[in-house]
């Protein structure tokens, strides 16, 4: 099972006028994998991700997500993926419980299923005291953890995380990554963009984007060998410097 590809991308390109934001990228992601999608600010990570989740039409190339084509079946893709953006998608003026009900509802979960999922979540994350609080009043770390769990409510095949741990403390980041591992162990593929190079070490495989192109793609271990350095941080710096 580990070898089936759930994301398959070939020469995917996005142009905004004369500017090529994503330049013919090619890669694939296997089922259950934690795929790190790295790059400096403005390298084209978010644009590439938006094409994969079906909210941005590619200019050219091919891409399949969960066996659906991003050009023709973007709405089918949306049923099979979860997404957590850097700007959290939860509603600040709804309570944790109301957010769960809403997101469960729009993904077509039954009332009973939503109820079950909610109880499970409350138990796992220890939300007993805050389940009826407005999301807006919670600390950032909580928001992100709940946001991630909500993105997994409908048991998607792939979950896309756009810089999920921006701005939180190391302990919360650590807990967050434990949640990611758990999801991955349950068979969910995790596609994650990040700025933190220590997080890149946690990924099964990592791609590094520089100016719209994927310049490196392999396991963290092999990348370090390839660039003859000790950490992902150095891999990243070496790549970015070469371009300059």
């Amino acid at each position: 099972m580990k070898d089936t590809n759930v994301i398959q991308v070939e020469n995917l390109t996005k142009k905004f006028g004369d500017f090529t934001a994503v330049n013919a990228i090619t890669f694939e992601v296997k089922k259950g994998e934690i795929f790190g999608f790295l790059g400096a600010n403005g390298a084209g990570k978010t644009t590439a991700m938006k094409m994969l989740i079906g909210i941005s039409k590619p200019t050219s190339g091919n891409a399949k997500v969960a066996d659906f084509d991003v050009f023709t079946n973007s709405e089918d893709i949306k049923k099979n993926i979860g997404y957590m953006s850097q700007k959290f998608a939860l509603y600040d003026d709804l309570t944790v419980k109301e957010n769960i009900t809403f997101f469960g509802g729009i993904y077509g979960l039954s009332r009973k299923k939503i109820e079950e999922k909610r109880c499970l979540l409350v138990e796992e994350l220890g939300l007993h005291n805050i389940v009826n609080e407005l999301v807006g009043s919670l600390p950032l770390g909580w928001k992100q953890k709940i946001s991630f769990s909500v993105a997994l409510l409908h048991e998607p095949k792939i979950v896309f995380l756009d810089e999920p741990t921006g701005g939180v403390d190391p302990i919360t980041r650590r807990q967050f990554w434990e949640m990611i591992y758990k999801a991955s162990n349950n068979g969910t593929t995790v596609f994650v963009t990040t700025h933190y190079m220590d997080e890149a070490e946690y990924c099964d495989r990592v791609s590094i984007m520089v100016e719209g192109k994927i310049e490196a793609l392999d396991t963290p271990k092999k990348l370090k060998e390839q660039f003859k350095v000790n950490s992902m941080n150095d891999v990243f710096l070496k790549l970015a410097r070469n371009i300059e």
């Binding site: 989740i53 079906g54 909210i55 941005s56 039409k57 973007s74 709405e75 949306k78 049923k79 993926i81 997404y83 953006s85 700007k87 959290f88 998608a89 939860l90 509603y91 600040d92 003026d93 709804l94 109301e98 009900t101 809403f102 997101f103 509802g105 729009i106 993904y107 077509g108």
Partner: protein, 373 residues
């Protein structure tokens, strides 16, 4: 279907949770209805009237007393000269100056022509026109009485009879301007609130980033739009209902026609406004932009609705433009149904235009809302 219900539930939760918005939605419009209906009057009252009496005879005083007796005029003390009066006019202290010439009584007694000079502050042209009519009426009636009293009784019999017109005012026989204004202002409020709310609602999700999240879910376009707009459709009805109750209880506005017909029309009318709001929010990125555009249209709609200025007196090109004004339709329908008791058949032509408008507006709105860019 279930998806729509979840969206509606969420929208209502958010609306009722927003403690700042609730009064704006429900209280302010009703205050406006109460205040505007009383204040936005076309009647000209308390005209500041002054005079220069160069004659100082009993007849000139009779004329001045006639003005004093009228409820429209508030008579100020006299000025010694026209110069002093003009100064007061330029300061805005008086609206009308009447100058009675020397030998006024003598000339009239001798059956000679005499002229009164009237100066009216015409910065507000419409008001000046009305004031001129009032003044003429008073002078005419004074003129008639003078003729009778000054002529010897034998001649008085031979005075030709005047032709008198007695108008009967249909649909608003007491010429109560509130009867005319209340239905119109109610329309404005329902329109403004629903347009602003729907225009700002989706763009707000754009601002806080949740719209992107919605676009990643399998929600279908029509589900999202119906779920988003339905709550404001309901709010439109609630506003209309409270407004109609105030119209009846506070202003005693006649409601001759069928209320059901008004609600039926409102149901379709609100679709036009909500479609417009959605269309605006699809083309804007911030609530501020959406607000400006909504205001731009609302101001044009209000001024060209026939509420404050009759459409018949607009230039031809402007009259054609008013055909695109939904508020004009609603004002007309409200007045027709409430004051004249018009039936379904009477409003059918306007109803059909409104339906076409709703279809076009919502078509544009759905077309311009894109989940994928």
């Amino acid at each position: 279907m279930n998806t729509i219900l979840y969206i509606i539930q969420k929208e209502f939760r958010q609306i009722f949770r927003n403690k700042g918005m609730l009064p704006i939605i429900f209280i302010l419009p009703l205050l406006q209805l109460l205040i505007l209906s009383n204040a936005a009057t076309f009647e000209i009252k308390n005209i500041k009237f002054s005079y220069i009496d160069n004659d100082k005879t009993s007849l000139s005083r009779v004329l001045i007393e006639k003005f004093d007796a009228s409820t429209y005029f508030h008579v100020m003390t006299d000025f010694p000269s026209i110069k002093a009066a003009n100064v007061a006019m330029s300061k805005g202290e008086v609206d009308v100056i009447l100058e009675i010439p020397r030998n006024f009584e003598r000339d009239l007694s001798n059956q000679k022509d005499t002229d009164l000079s009237i100066t009216i502050n015409a910065i507000d042209g419409a008001a000046a026109g009305v004031q001129s009519v009032y003044i003429n009426q008073i002078v005419q009636s004074f003129n008639k009485k003078v003729k009778v009293s000054l002529l010897p009784p034998s001649d008085a019999i031979n005075i030709p009879k005047d032709i008198v017109t007695i108008p009967s005012f249909w649909y608003n026989n007491t010429l109560n301007y509130k009867t005319f204004m209340v239905p119109g202002i109610l329309v404005l409020l329902v329109t403004m609130i629903t347009l602003f709310l729907s225009g700002m609602n989706i763009v707000r999700e754009k601002e806080i980033g949740t719209l992107e999240q919605m676009n990643v879910t399998p929600i279908k376009k029509y589900q999202f739009i119906i779920g988003k707009l339905f709550p404001f459709w309901i709010i439109g009805f609630v506003l209309l209902t409270i407004g109609l109750i105030i119209a009846k209880v506070v202003f005693n506005t006649p409601m001759i026609g069928s209320l059901g017909l008004i609600y039926f029309y409102t149901a379709i009318y609100l679709l036009v406004i909500l479609g417009m709001g959605l269309f605006i929010s699809n083309f804007t990125d911030t609530q501020q932009q959406a607000m400006f555009i909504a205001w731009f249209f609302i101001v044009i709609f209000i001024l060209m609705s026939g509420l404050f200025t009759p459409i018949e007196s607009m230039p031809y090109w402007a009259q054609i433009l008013t055909e695109f004004n939904p508020i004009k339709y609603f004002v007309e329908i409200m007045r027709m149904v409430m004051l004249k008791g018009s039936s379904f058949i009477d409003i059918l032509p306007l109803l059909i235009k409104t339906i076409i408008y709703a279809v076009i507006m919502n078509g544009l709105a759905v077309w311009s809302y894109k989940k994928t860019n």
